[in-house]
Amino acid sequence: MAGQVATGSRSGLRSALPLLLPAYLWLTVAIFLPLSAMVFFSFMTELPLSGKAWSFTLDNYATFFSQGLYWTLLLASLRLGLEVTLWCVVIGYPAAYVLAKVLRGRSREAIFLLVILPFWSNGLVRIFSWAMVLREGGILDTALNAVLPFKINIDLMYSYPAVIIGLVHSYVPYMVLTCYLTLQAIDDSLIEAGRSLGASRLQMLKRVIIPLSMPGLVAGAALIFVPVVGSFMEPRILGGRTGTFYGTVIEDQFVAVFNWPLGAALSFILLAVVLVILALASPVLRRAA
């Protein structure tokens, strides 16, 4: 994609400038300036509020490397991102396949709406609904005990699985949408051609359908992995004491401890780590895509 844009002719770029300008102006004002301010903060000893004295320092970054805790939390968050992405693939890809290749017409529209619906509901409402479902004596617990002949105790609230469930629920539509788009672009005659050559459904999936839908899987994974690594709302509400992750620590620095410089430094370390991971993965991903 990037290559195609870069090869665009110079005159094309000039005439496209009026079209690009609003977007870049907006990005500059709304994102780049605040972000630059954050970079600035991350090198300060104190927030320059109410006349406090401040100076430049590298201590905020040094804190991360001197304390094993941050490193451990970052690894936990990366693992969380990986697991949630994996579950989103496992749940989202088959759904996208059915939407793109099996359902037609109105039933496709209806199921599509059901996939998008959580998107349109408020994130906090979604998470607290899960809290009601997962807690002891909650909806899941009561329902299972009403059906099962023996007494069981479902209390997933404030646990790692609860965080996973909440995050997967929030992010699975991304995977469904990106995979749906690439799967829909696969011509049905390719599948028929493969079958006429004697390939089983599993062989078709492995050799044609998954390779051709790889761009959607990669896009979906990137869209999910990055925000999940920095997530704080789901871990805090559904994870309770077990829900301390890198993202919640950053949030604490901004909201509770008021140590903006440290929070900013931790954010940029996360950004750097994510960029490094994506860069390392890009040759593999590009080959796959």
Partner: protein, 354 residues
């Protein structure tokens, strides 16, 4: 290799009868065209033979073995799709070898077979390319190589030349025929292009509204159409409608037209006669009268010059007749000229009405 027998095949989609009691015998090693307008059921029939869809009733046998409930991946057929359906994520060689590798053949065997198939379609050096790097005609050849490399029992082609331009299409017609002869595979070929059907196939089946209208060698269908539809769909025809006299028909104005071929009908029933435009001779005078020839008088309303031949439209008693004349440079008739049309009864086919 094997022949294909289709017997009493029917398939409906809702209230629409896509195939209605179709029976055809495709002999071993033959080249068949299924010809018909869109919606005639020709593609549905091909997909039934392939096994993408199962019939409501009727039988399909490949090499004598009933297959109507066998799914496509077990039928051992080769299929070429209109849009070629090459796998864009694989090289040309991997595309061609796909059918062999899903059968878990040894790598060396696959490489050898793929090379032989690519050589057969004259693309021996392009195995390393990707499908998007090929021209339309080359993709067509790759699709063909991929379909035949597994040594299928029957080769099915769904409008394979539809996406090619005219010159390339003619080349591919010859090429396809050569390859089919070389490997001797039973080939069934769906097309809506009558010229393609005429030039390539040993036999043609004409379909209309899910029914088989007529089936036979191209010459037979062209010379002895059994219905007005067959006469006008395969080639051009002048149709006269009237009442049979036994050896021809009488038009409403009393003119008799003698027919030397076609159906045998009881006198007095409604019937038609079909005459090919190139069988009619056109002249400005009656010349030496031939008592046996059919004769009509009319007026040239339009002449279309097409290089090697000209088409005259001749008005006669409210009907416009078409006459095709080779341009020998001898005479040219002007529009508005009174003319005499003559043709032999042998060129006239009697067709039952309906």
């Amino acid at each position: 290799m094997a022949g294909v027998q289709v017997a009493n095949l029917s398939r409906s989609f809702g209230a629409h009868k896509a195939l209605d009691d179709v029976s055809i015998d495709f002999a071993d090693g033959g080249f068949y065209a299924l010809l018909g307008p869109s919606g005639s059921g020709k593609t549905t029939l091909l997909r039934q033979i392939a096994g993408f869809d199962f019939p409501d009733s009727g039988r399909i046998a490949i090499g004598g073995e009933g297959v109507e409930r066998v799914p496509v991946e077990k039928r051992r057929i080769g299929m070429v799709f209109q849009n070629y359906a090459l796998f864009p994520n694989m090289s040309v060689a991997d595309n061609v070898g796909f059918g062999l590798s899903v059968r878990r053949q040894a790598k060396a065997t696959i490489a050898g077979e793929v090379q032989r198939a690519l050589d057969l379609v004259q693309l021996g050096k392009l195995g390393g390319r990707r499908p998007h790097q090929l021209s339309g005609g080359q993709r067509q050849r790759v699709a063909l190589a991929r379909a035949i490399v597994t040594k299928p029992r029957v080769l099915l082609l769904d409008e394979p030349l539809g996406a090619l331009d005219k010159a390339l299409r003619v080349d591919m017609q010859i090429e396809l025929k050569r390859i089919q002869r070389e490997i001797g595979i039973t080939t069934i070929f769906v097309t809506h292009d009558q010229e393609e059907a005429l030039t390539m196939s040993d036999r043609i089946g004409i379909l209309r509204d899910g029914r088989l209208v007529q089936e036979g060698p191209p010459e037979e269908i062209y010379d002895r159409p059994k219905s007005e539809f067959a006469a006008t769909f395969l080639g051009d025809a002048n149709i006269f409608r009237g009442e049979t006299t036994g050896a021809g028909i009488r038009l409403p104005d009393g003119t008799a037209i003698a027919a030397g071929a076609g159906a045998t009908l009881a006198a007095g029933t409604k019937a038609s006669c079909a005459v090919r435009p190139e069988r009619i001779r056109i002249a400005t005078d009656s010349g030496t009268p031939d008592p046996n020839a059919n004769l009509l008088r009319g007026q040239v309303s339009k002449r279309i010059f097409a290089g090697s031949n000209s088409t005259y439209f001749v008005d006669r008693d409210g009907q416009t007749l078409k006459v095709i004349v080779q341009n020998t440079g001898v005479e040219r008739l002007a529009e508005g000229q009174e003319v005499v049309l003559r043709w032999s009864p042998e060129s006239t086919v009697l067709i039952a009405a309906g």
